[in-house]
């Protein structure tokens, strides 16, 4: 050894992790044992094959079979068959299995880390120190939930068979995020790993056998997009969980529309990374290293938009360039590598295309000045300056180690820029001033916000997105709930009523005896307004006699109502106690007008006693919802990081649509509206079409009850016409839908901005309301490390 030579350069020298064990294991599996179904590996006679490549060397690691529809069938059937046995194991039995999986992952940690790095190209430091330990942690955490779920979530059970499709950026970790909560909640699973990175899933299948997972509780089928599409659309699947691109998420949303399957989506992001002038700049620089330069930037929650306060921007960029110069790019198995290989040639080509586009649009690329290995899919880390919010690279997810930097002047501007995106997955806020930091954390629309940190994860803290980053959470209580079937919301259907005729032309029906001419309008922006189209439809008494002409809203009225709701953002900022006050006042006014409300209901065909019950239930529901406005508490989570406040806040969706049907015409409307408003949402509601009279009464009451204009808007008309318009509207953040017949159309239209659709008739009893209130919010997880 030439020590003298090394002493002059003080190079680190080669320090590779040995891949011998992993390669020897792979050697025996070159031709793949098959798909993991009912506890055994099965070949598929119809299957084709795909090569699994080491992205750092282009070496073929194995040949993976692609599951045909028949194999997917078999896997789903195996999961279904295993369900009674898995549930029969009981909480303790299931907990033991999850615990065994956690232990086995730990005992195989080094092997799994090497295998992951071979397959994915991520640096061994990351797979060893982050991916694998977090995967094991997830199983430990959920072993606890398996034991406790029945007492913590009384009356709730798992969905049944879960189909789970995961991406290639954290193959084993995403597998754990999917399988652990599903099993803990009493489901069985069919999982499909990404075709680029199936190896740790194959190893996990073998670990399932080692750890004593009952046959069929976990099934793993291999394949690409087609296999995934077949799996999620399979009729035998009860719930689908997907992590991946927004584009595929949308396709899944559409393919599942109307199926009644549960769905959670964890999709793309273009997450803001806000650096204030009073930040610890060095800490923020390291945040970028742990952010966009982590896992080659192939991280859905990576801080890819650097928003830097103008006065410190040049200094910050200079420090970033310094830091770039010290990153080591190369062999991912080398223990001194910071940036490994990009997962595939396709992904590298996409990154290159977007980066070239960024340069063509006038952005300046600051990239590390390093030599890349001659073979392998590598991309230099870097960042853009001079790219404006309109640039492609500022809007599209690059999913590579390249950030886009922009400046802001004030906290308000930082929030505006941060929220100027279709996504809402994560955000980082860097400021040493607690006022600034928490203000920004509260106002950025993202499912996860890290204060003075980035990419902090723990099984106890919910993770997931807002807006087009998807819906549903993974981790903690909120994550487990995604795998528990909601209790039935629909009461038994009431007696059929005659259909409403929405034609705007006169129908010549005779008037009911007591008819008094009454002008029914729409309620938009705090005022009664005439419908845009000037049309009306006849409200009848249920026996064909017309009792009034109701305003018939069209798509432009929806547009106007949503616009009014968007403007009424003050409702969300009002303290919860203030919202409660307003809702109490509305309830009080309804109470005084009980008789009128009941008359309106009976005139549209409801029996008198039923009408009285409806009014009573509605008033009670509103009082209950008002009282809960200041009780929608978040939580604090026991995460693994020291000195950490990991809190969840329950935030309103924003603008919510509510489409009722003719069942429970007043109480369902008021229960839904009450819950949504109490939580701070602004609402565009489509009341029962038949009961436009009582809606008209409500308009008068709302106008005199201090409800701010635009916070609640009522549009009478044809739900079949209005619901899809609301569902397709990109400014509507969530939609509640009573009529199951509209579900397919609405869920298809909702795929546009990926708003969640809550199906079922809103229930006005306390238990039903409690769930409505829960569903009226989304969880935001805020991480605040502290330490003097």
């Amino acid at each position: 050894m030439d020590i003298t030579e090394i002493l002059t350069t003080m190079e680190y020298g080669p320090n590779p992790e040995s891949a011998d064990d992993a390669l020897a294991w792979l050697k025996d599996r070159q031709d793949w044992p098959g798909h993991f179904i009912a506890g055994a590996f099965h070949a598929d006679p119809q299957e084709t094959a795909m090569k699994v490549e080491n992205p750092a060397t282009h070496a073929v690691l194995a040949t993976m079979p692609v599951a045909s529809a028949a194999t997917v069938d078999a896997a789903v059937a195996a999961a279904r068959a295993a369900l009674p046995g898995w549930r029969g194991l009981g909480p303790q039995g299931r907990a033991r299995v999850l615990y065994a999986l956690a232990r086995h992952l730990q005992k195989r940690a080094r092997f799994l880390a090497v295998l992951e790095t071979l397959d994915n190209g991520k640096p061994i430091r990351e797979s060893r120190d982050i991916d694998v330990p977090l995967a094991a942690r997830h199983f430990y955490h959920h072993a606890g939930w398996a034991a406790a779920a029945e007492v913590e979530f009384p009356g709730r059970a798992g969905w049944g068979v879960c189909a789970q499709v995961i991406p290639w950026n954290f193959p084993l970790l995403m597998l754990s995020w999917k399988i652990a909560p599903a099993l803990a909640a009493g489901n069985t699973v069919v999982l499909k790993p990404a075709e680029q990175t199936p190896l740790t899933a194959l190893a996990f299948a073998e670990i399932c056998r080692e750890a004593g997972v009952p046959d069929g509780a976990v099934n793993i089928v291999f394949g690409a997009g087609d296999t995934g599409a077949t799996l999620v659309a399979h009729k035998g699947v009860d719930k689908v969980a997907f992590t991946g691109s927004t584009e595929v998420g949308r396709a899944i949303r559409r393919s599942l529309a109307g199926s009644g399957k549960g769905l959670t989506l964890e999709l793309g992001g273009k997450s803001p990374f806000i650096v204030c002038a009073d930040a610890d700049l060095e800490a923020a620089v390291e945040g970028v290293v742990d952010g966009i330069w982590f896992n080659g930037g192939q991280v859905c929650c990576a801080g890819s938009r650097l928003l830097v306060q103008e006065g410190i921007a040049e200094r910050f960029y200079a420090r970033l360039r310094d830091r770039l110069a010290r990153l080591r790019i190369g062999d991912p198995l080398h223990k001194s590598t910071d940036i490994g290989a990009i997962v595939s040639g396709d992904q590298l080509a996409r990154i290159r295309r977007l980066v070239a586009e960024g340069q063509a649009q006038g952005g300046t690329l600051h990239a590390a000045d390093a030599a890349l290995p001659e073979t392998g899919h590598y991309h230099l880390p870097g960042f853009f300056t001079g790219a404006e919010p309109a640039s492609t690279v500022a809007r599209e997810e690059i999913f590579g180690p390249v950030a886009v930097a922009m400046t802001f002047r004030t906290p308000d501007e930082a929030v505006a820029l941060a929220n100027n995106t279709a996504y809402g997955l994560a955000a980082s806020v860097w400021s040493e001033n607690i006022n600034t930091a928490l203000d920004l954390a509260a106002r950025v629309r993202a499912g996860v916000v890290w204060v003075n940190g980035t990419n902090l994860f723990d099984a106890a803290a919910p993770f997931g997105g807002m807006k087009e980053s998807g819906f549903g959470r993974e981790g903690g209580r909120a994550g487990l709930e995604a795998y528990l079937h909601p209790l039935a919301d629909d009461p038994a259907p009431g007696p059929a009523t005659e259909p409403v005729d929405f034609s705007t032309a006169p129908q010549g029906a005779g008037p009911a005896a007591e008819a008094v001419d009454r002008t029914l309008k729409l309620y938009v922006g705090g005022k009664q307004v005439r419908p845009d189209g000037g049309g009306s439809y006849a409200v009848t008494d249920g026996t064909g006699r017309s009792v009034a002409l109701a305003a018939r809203a069209n798509r432009k009225d929806v547009r106007n109502a949503v616009e009014a709701a968007v403007k009424a953002a003050g409702w969300a900022r009002m303290p919860a106690a203030g919202r409660a006050q307003v809702l109490y006042f509305l309830a009080e006014n309804m109470d005084q007008r009980r008789a009128d409300l009941a008359v309106s209901l009976t005139r549209a065909g409801l029996a008198e006693d039923a009408a009285d019950r409806e009014v009573g239930a509605a008033v009670d529901a509103l009082i209950f919802a008002a009282g809960m406005a200041d009780k929608l508490d978040g939580g604090l989570h026991s995460v693994g990081q020291p000195r950490m406040v990991a809190m969840t806040m329950r935030e309103p969706w924003g603008v919510a649509g509510l489409v009722c049907d003719d069942r429970a015409p007043l109480s369902a409307l008021i229960a839904g509206v009450g819950a949504l408003l109490a939580a701070g949402n602004r609402v565009v509601a489509v009341p029962s079409a038949r009961h436009a009279l009582v809606a008209g009464d409500l308009m008068q009451l709302i106008a005199t009850s201090d409800v701010p204009g635009g916070a609640l808007n009522l549009l009478t008309g044809d739900p079949a016409e209005l619901a899809p318009v609301l569902a397709a509207h990109d400014e509507v953040d969530a939609l509640w839908l009573a009529d199951p017949a509209l579900r397919a159309a609405v869920e298809t239209a909702a795929a546009g901005n990926l708003k969640p659709v809550m199906a079922g008739l809103p229930r006005s009893d306390p238990a039903g309301l409690a769930r409505l209130l829960q569903g009226a919010t989304q969880v935001k997880t805020i991480w605040v490390p502290y330490g003097a």
Partner: protein, 319 residues
């Protein structure tokens, strides 16, 4: 690599250089946790790094029971820190390997100077009422002059923690400047006793004040505080060095001391210097490790690198 450079002339106190700088503890700890996991050295490189670490050690004895005999033994070890057969096996006989310096109390300086005569190894002396520093300033300055007269080429002073804890930066600055003057040609290493400064933000400010007052090196600890050299503290002090160098183009040395015991510590701290300040700052004129027991572990690791067998401490000469 270690061409000479001008000493830090110091400057008037300028609080604006540190006033707005906040150091986030949790972030510093996260970064610190990665220093040892993002880089590693193995085999020949590890051996070379450990040899280099020896070149950076201020071999230290600072105990109440120090005697001339004890100091002579230490000096002998400083002259020949590695067993000759290992030096031979590594092929570094021409290197003239010694530790960077020997560090002792002022009254032990003459014994160390005598024992190191002809070796070229400088003697460093602690001074200024080490370790607490709570002696009247004239006495502390007199102590520096004594140590310098006895032949100390480097003086490790301790700062008055009171001034740092109560924000009396100008008093701290002026006191260190006076000490620097008393040092004359001897280099001044300012011990900040970071374990007693409370916050990293304070560590940053004290580092900057010491450099503005003319310190040639800033050093973490006396070794007598309950918390000694830690990596988050190091990141903070190094950051201050980088900022000072950026503003003044003056090179400043860094010396962690206390709590560094293992060969692994040595490579991690060298890696820290490489990553945060670069190759130049890994050289012994800008990086020192204050340690007494670390050398023994380094010797054993080097022997393992040479022979492939795990080594016994008793097979290496005692310091």
């Amino acid at each position: 690599m270690s061409e000479s450079f001008p000493r830090n002339p110091g400057m008037a106190l300028d609080e604006s250089w540190f006033d707005g700088v906040q150091v986030n503890r949790s972030a510093a700890e996260r970064r610190a946790d990665q220093i040892g996991t993002r880089r590693g050295v193995k085999k020949a490189h590890q051996a070379a790094w450990l040899v280099h670490a020896i070149r950076c050690i201020d071999l230290t004895t600072l105990a109440g029971d120090d005697t001339p005999g004890r100091v002579r033994r230490l000096c002998a070890k400083a002259r020949q820190p590695l067993r000759p057969d290992l030096v031979e096996a590594l092929g570094i006989a021409d290197l003239g390997l010694t530790t960077a310096a020997v560090c002792v109390y002022p009254t032990m300086v003459p014994h160390a100077v005598a024992a190191l005569e002809g070796s070229g190894i400088p003697v460093a002396s602690v001074a200024t009422g080490f370790p607490a520093g709570l002696m009247p300033l004239p006495l502390r300055l007199a102590e520096i002059r004594y140590a310098v007269e006895e032949g100390a080429a480097e003086i490790d002073i301790v700062i008055t923690r009171e001034y740092a804890l109560t924000g009396q930066w100008s008093r701290l600055h002026d006191e260190i400047a006076a000490m620097r003057e008393a040092c004359e040609a001897a280099h001044l290493k300012a011990i900040l006793a970071t374990g007693e400064l409370g916050t990293l933000t304070n560590v940053y400010a004290a580092s900057m004040v010491a450099m503005q007052a003319g310190a040639d090196f800033i050093k973490t600890s006396t070794g007598k505080e309950t918390v000694n050299a830690t990596l988050p503290v190091a990141l903070t002090m190094i950051r201050a060095i980088r900022d000072y160098q950026d503003r003044t183009s003056t090179l400043i040395g860094y010396k962690p001391a206390g709590g560094l015991r293992s060969a692994r510590d040595a490579t991690v701290w060298l890696s820290l210097m490489r990553e945060e300040l670069g190759l130049r700052h890994m050289q012994p004129d800008l990086f020192r490790i204050g340690a007494s027991s670390m050398l023994g572990d380094i010797e054993r690791q080097i022997e393992h690198a040479v022979t492939g067998r795990y080594a016994a401490l008793s097979h290496h000469a005692a310091a």
